[in-house]
């Protein structure tokens, strides 16, 4: 049994230590907001937070995550009211939506570390998250908006 702390809840999972964390999150715990994209850490769709860092769960083994703090898109906020989620909603960022949970998880790390990012900072943080629909301009606008909301005191 391996203990995974996901979104504040402790789970004992019967999984091979070499299993990708993504499989445990989706197939064992049923948290399907995190998506499988490339399986090779190339696209960012599977991004989750591991001790606050935006790891690619498709190449992160369950053994690395054991006993650590994992946050998935389902745990980013209690009521889907993270400033990023509010801004995403307001600007209708997603098109097909498949990459968006990964985009949000990466953006959340950026905003935590840099509450007032420039376009360059956003490029530096978000270039590992690919969007085949090409929503990049809206992603950028929404991050700026979320940063402004955060500065104005929205919950984070």
């Amino acid at each position: 049994m391996i203990t995974l702390n996901v979104n504040g809840q402790r789970h004992n999972v019967d999984a091979d230590p070499n299993m990708p964390l993504l499989w445990a999150i989706r197939d064992i715990l049923g948290l399907t907001g995190t998506k499988y994209g490339c399986g090779a850490a190339q696209c960012g769709a599977c991004t989750v937070h591991l001790n606050g860092e935006a790891v690619r769960s498709c190449v992160t083994k369950v053994s690395r995550a054991a006993g650590q703090q994992i946050v998935t898109i389902e745990g980013l906020s209690v009521a889907n009211d993270h400033p990023l989620q509010l801004a995403w909603n307001e600007l209708n960022v997603p098109q097909c939506g498949y990459c968006q949970s990964g985009q949000l998880m990466s953006a959340a790390v950026l905003l935590r570390e840099n509450p007032n990012p420039t376009d360059q900072d956003i490029d530096d943080a978000m270039s590992g998250n690919i969007c085949r629909c090409g929503t990049y301009q809206r992603v950028r606008a929404a991050i700026h908006k979320a940063a402004a909301m955060q500065r104005e005191g929205a919950k984070i």
Partner: protein, 202 residues
């Protein structure tokens, strides 16, 4: 009685002095020296240089702030940047994709617990350096991470991240020398005088 006490004190002090010498760490000369031999030293360094300029070493010692990838040393995709500590920025940190070990399979992320570039304040660039420039840089503690010659040898011969170059995972070519042969050439370079090649050396 006074005599006996005085003798005891002298014996105790004497023992303490002897013990203190015995417990002192032996000073080991980790940089063996050979007779100065500028030709031999430079020849050894050229072998070292060829390893350092191979993709497995140079890709993490780029001239810019973007790591390199592949045997063709192209810029790392995903706009990955060095960051202040050499381990990336924001949500694009090295260990977000690179695990403590190589991920199996072609084109999968290689890995090591120390994966990263040199930090921004000590960039240790290899890419684009001539043999002379790189030799002088490696010998300069202000540019080599504060290493003495002994520490430089130890880094090349024993550092785990340097050692990754000889276990790079699927589909990546190895440096032109084995690690023991590489370490031997580093030692020879230093032992024969740590000469830098001439400006026209290739």
């Amino acid at each position: 009685m006074k005599k006996l006490a005085a003798i005891t004190v002298i014996l105790l002090i004497g023992s303490a002095i002897i013990l203190s010498f015995k417990t002192e760490t032996a000073k080991v000369n980790t940089t063996a020296t050979l007779p100065k031999d500028s030709v031999g030293s430079v020849k050894a360094f050229i072998s070292v240089y060829k390893v350092l300029m191979s993709a497995r070493c140079m890709n993490c010692h780029p001239s810019g702030d973007v790591p390199l990838q592949g045997d063709d040393s192209h810029l790392h995709t995903m706009n990955v940047k060095r960051g202040a500590d050499g381990h990336g920025m924001y949500s694009v940190r090295c260990s977000n994709c690179h695990q403590a070990e190589n991920t199996r399979g072609l084109h999968m992320p290689p890995g090591n617990p120390k994966w990263g570039l040199p930090p921004a304040n000590m960039r240790m660039v290899f890419q684009g350096r001539t043999p002379r420039e790189l030799a002088l840089q490696l010998l300069d503690p202000k540019q080599n991470g504060g290493r003495t010659k002994a520490q430089l040898i130890d880094h090349m011969a024993n550092d785990a991240l340097v050692g990754w170059a000889w276990h790079p995972g699927d589909g990546r070519t190895l440096p032109p020398l084995t690690r023991p042969a590489f370490a031997a050439q580093v030692r020879a370079w230093i032992a024969k005088g740590a000469y830098a090649p001439g400006a026209d050396a290739k």
